[in-house]
């Protein structure tokens, strides 16, 4: 494939909606998301000569750049370490374990609450659950995108879902919703 400007645009621009959607939920702000997408595309454009088109196409590569760009920005803005380490993340959310699976609720009515709960997750968890839910990527694809072992992806996804369910249970309790009563 010729790696010129046109081929980059032809390959990358069609994925902008998907990249924006992740950026929007990662950042929680429309303008911040637009900036993130622009920075992602400029970095990808610069590194395009080194990109190898594999079976999954260009999108996982763009998502990987987005993920790193987001973490760098997040670290810069918060003056925090670049990425939270796994043990710290695990410790942070100990005690959130639920043993009975997702609460019994009418999930057709909970989009807004689920969105809020996902936005409240720590960035590392949020990235994994966004790639899982929005893109429907496999665990291995998510691992490739975030540059972590598949075990880490499974662990983060597990923790993220636990927190999501915990938030939904709290929501159900505070709104006096019981099984099937959410509608």
């Amino acid at each position: 494939m010729r790696k010129d400007e046109q081929s980059f645009e032809a390959l990358a621009v069609p994925h902008m909606q998907a990249i924006y959607r992740i950026a929007r939920r990662l950042s929680g702000d429309q303008h911040e998301a637009e900036d993130l997408v622009q920075e992602t595309y400029l970095k990808a454009h610069k590194a395009f000569a080194r990109f190898e088109l594999r079976k999954f196409g260009i999108r996982p590569w763009l998502l990987k750049i987005l993920h790193n760009t987001f973490l760098n920005r997040h670290a810069r803005l918060s003056r925090a370490p670049k990425a939270a380490d796994q043990r710290a993340l695990d410790q942070q959310h100990e005690g959130a374990e639920l043993s009975s699976g997702p609460p019994e609720l009418d999930y057709e009515q909970l989009d807004g609450e689920v969105r809020r709960a996902i936005e409240a997750l720590a960035p590392d968890f949020r990235t994994v659950i966004l790639l899982w839910a929005t893109m429907e990527h496999s665990y291995q694809e998510i691992a490739d995108i975030i540059g972590a072992p598949i075990g880490t992806v499974m662990s983060r996804l597990h923790r993220a879902r636990q927190q999501l369910m915990s938030a939904l249970e709290d929501y159900a309790r505070s709104n006096r919703l019981t099984t099937k009563d959410a509608s």
């Binding site: 902008m16 997408v37 899982w132």
Partner: protein, 285 residues
Amino acid sequence: MTPDQARKLLPLLADGELPEADRRALQALLERSPELAEELRRWEALRRCAHRALAAEPAPPALTPRIRAALSRETARRRLQVGGGLLAVAAAALLFFWLRGAQRPAPSDLVRPPQVTLVRADAFAQFHRRCAVTNHHRQYEYDPPSCSESAFAAVAPQTCFRFLIPDLTADGFELDGVCRCFDRAVDLHVIHAHYVGEHDGQPVVLSVFSVDRLISLGGAAHASRIDGRDYELESADGVNVLKWDEQQSSFAMCSAADADALERLAADVQAAIRDQLAPALARGN
């Protein structure tokens, strides 16, 4: 397989991530356990719900043209770099003639008042907040990042109007970045240099905008005269905007610092500006 072991595998089954042997064993168990089957249904519902909740947010229509424009600028910048010294010389020559032209107005300018474009103060405030305070935009590559001289050298080959990236280290401000985001919002060319530092003991973010033409903040602006120079001052969204003109261009400073502090700072900035303009003017002459 015990029910507890099965329970741990349910989310993996819902995600299609279970190896074939485990999947079969679990399916067999699910047929005998309505409770586990119901739990699997909830895992699947949760995933569908998350997918649906996150799916319905289209990108703003202006984003694609914005990205294409940014890519075009980046391509142009690289071509400029490829041209290297020759293009730098050409750009310097253009700047030279432009500065000469700016100093000696054409005859038509002598009889016709210059057109002034209205730019509202809240536009400056918006880009000050977004580019300088929140996102620390760094659109140009230069090293070290806080060096205004390096920044000026990086921006100059891509800019055909007079702009300022003053060195404000003596006033306690470090350059934080340079961007041209304002270009996208209005039909103007604007270089936005932003700084972080302290003024009167308070942390302050400061923006210096160089506009490619004369502008006015409009009728609501307060006019003032400092050290023989006319300023327009207006507040927007908690940010003070101070604007002044130099020949055929306008410049603006933005900060959340109070108006008095900004005016005092403007006087200090003038010295830095004169330092930066002087070499260019000398070359123009």
